[in-house]
Symmetry: C2
Subunit: 229 residues, 2 copies
Amino acid sequence: MLAPIDLQPFEKALTFREAAYHAIKHAILAGQLEPGKPLVEERLAAMLKISRTPVREALAILEHEGLIAPIYRRGLFVCQLSRAQVIELFTANEAVEPFLARRAAFYASPEQLVAIEQTISDGEASVERLDVANFLRSGRMFHAGIGLAAANPTLAQLVQRNEERVDLFVISYGKRIDAEMMRASNREHQAIYQAICDRDPDAAARLAIYHAQSIRERFAALANDESDA
Amino acid sequence: MLAPIDLQPFEKALTFREAAYHAIKHAILAGQLEPGKPLVEERLAAMLKISRTPVREALAILEHEGLIAPIYRRGLFVCQLSRAQVIELFTANEAVEPFLARRAAFYASPEQLVAIEQTISDGEASVERLDVANFLRSGRMFHAGIGLAAANPTLAQLVQRNEERVDLFVISYGKRIDAEMMRASNREHQAIYQAICDRDPDAAARLAIYHAQSIRERFAALANDESDA
DNA sequence: GCGCTATTATTTGTATACAGTTTGTCCCGG
DNA sequence: CCGGGACAAACTGTATACAAATAATAGCGC
C-alpha cells in the first residue's frame, strides 16, 4: 500500500499550499489517513505531485488547528484525541452552539436557509447508504451553515474546527455509528432548522443545547462500549 | 530604516519556525510591525538570522490566525481590522468570557490565582509608566490566566486570539489609550479576580459580561472620536 | 539462538536556487 | 510639463539540495 489514497488534485486553490491543505485535511476527515499513523512529507508531496515545501506549510497549519501533532524529529501523526479532550470540545460547543443558533434565527437569509436544508438532505441520504464519512461531513456542513447564518465568523470557525476534531475522534476509534444514531442526529438538525425558519430564537437555542447534549451522551455510550474502561 | 526592529532572537523554542512565529507575533503585538505595512519575508529572515523557509511557515500560521493577510503575489500585510470585525470579536467574547469566568471560579487552583493576580499587578504597573503595549499584553495574559483556570483550552485559545486581534486594532488605529481607561479596565479585572477567589461563579460571570461590555463601549467611544464617521 | 553495537536508510529541519509576477522607474514622445 | 511604454528591481511561490537526527538493520560476540 504505497499510494493508498490519491489526494485528489487541487480543488479550486490559488497556491499549492492551499491545495495541499484542503487535500490533506479532506483525506484525514474521510478516514483515508488513519489516526496514529505517521504522515511522511515526501509521500504526501509525491501524491500531490508537488514538492515538500508547500506541503510542509500546509502541515504547519493543520498542526496549529490540532488535527495533526508532531514529535520532534520523528514526524507528524494524525491526532488521536483522548476522551477528556473530546469532552472538552463538547463543553465548548454547548456554550457556543446555542448562541449561534439563536443568532441564526435572527439573521439567516433565505439562501442560507436553503443551504442548511441541503446539508440535512445530504445527511439523510448518507443514512441510506450507510456512508459514515459523508454523514459526518454533512453534519459539519450543517453547523457551518448555522455559523454562517449567525453572522459571527469567529465563533462559527471555532465550532467548525471542533466538529472536525470530534469527527476525527469518531474515525480514530473506529466506533461504528449505527443508522439509528445517524437518524437521531438528523432529526435534531431538522428541529433546529425548523426553529430557525420559524424565527424562534429561544427554541433554536434550546434545541441546539439539546442536540449538543444528545451527541455527548451518544458518544459517551459508544466510548464506554469498547476497549478502555 | 533598514532594520528598525530587532526581532529578539529565539525565546525558548525547538525549531526556527516556532521561534520565528513567536518573534514575529510579539513584534506585531508590540506595535513594532505596523498594521497595513508589508512584511517582507527576506527581511524578517535576515532580522532573525535564519532562512526564509521557517519564516514562511511561521507566516502561514499567523495568516491562519488572522493577524496578517496576504495579497496574492503582492505580499503579506499586518491586518487592519475593520470596526465591524472588531464588533464581531467583542460579540464572540461576550458569549465566551462569562462562561470561562464561571468555570474559573469553580476550578482555579491557588497557583493559577497567583498567576492571575500577577497579571493584574503588571497591568497596574503599566499605567504608571503609560506603557500601552505592556498594558495590552498584561490584559491578554489576564484573560489567558482565566482561560487556563477554566480548564477549557479550546475556548481559552479562542479568547486569547480574539484579544490579540482586538489589540491589533487598537495598535492599528493608533488610538491613544489614556490612563483613566487603563485604570478602569484594571479595576474590572480586579473585580473578576476577586469573584473567582471568592468562588462565586455567578458574580464572576456577571462581572465578565460587564467587563466585555465596558470595553466595547470604551472602544466605541474611541472609534467615534477619530477620523471615519 | 539471543542480545548488544555499529552502520545504513529514512526523514525531518533548514538553506539555497530558480522562475514568474508585480511594482517602480526611467526614458521618450507629445 | 505630462503621460505611456519598456526596462529593471524586488519579491513571492515552488523546487531542490544539504545536514543532523532518529529508526531500522545487520553483524558480531557470547
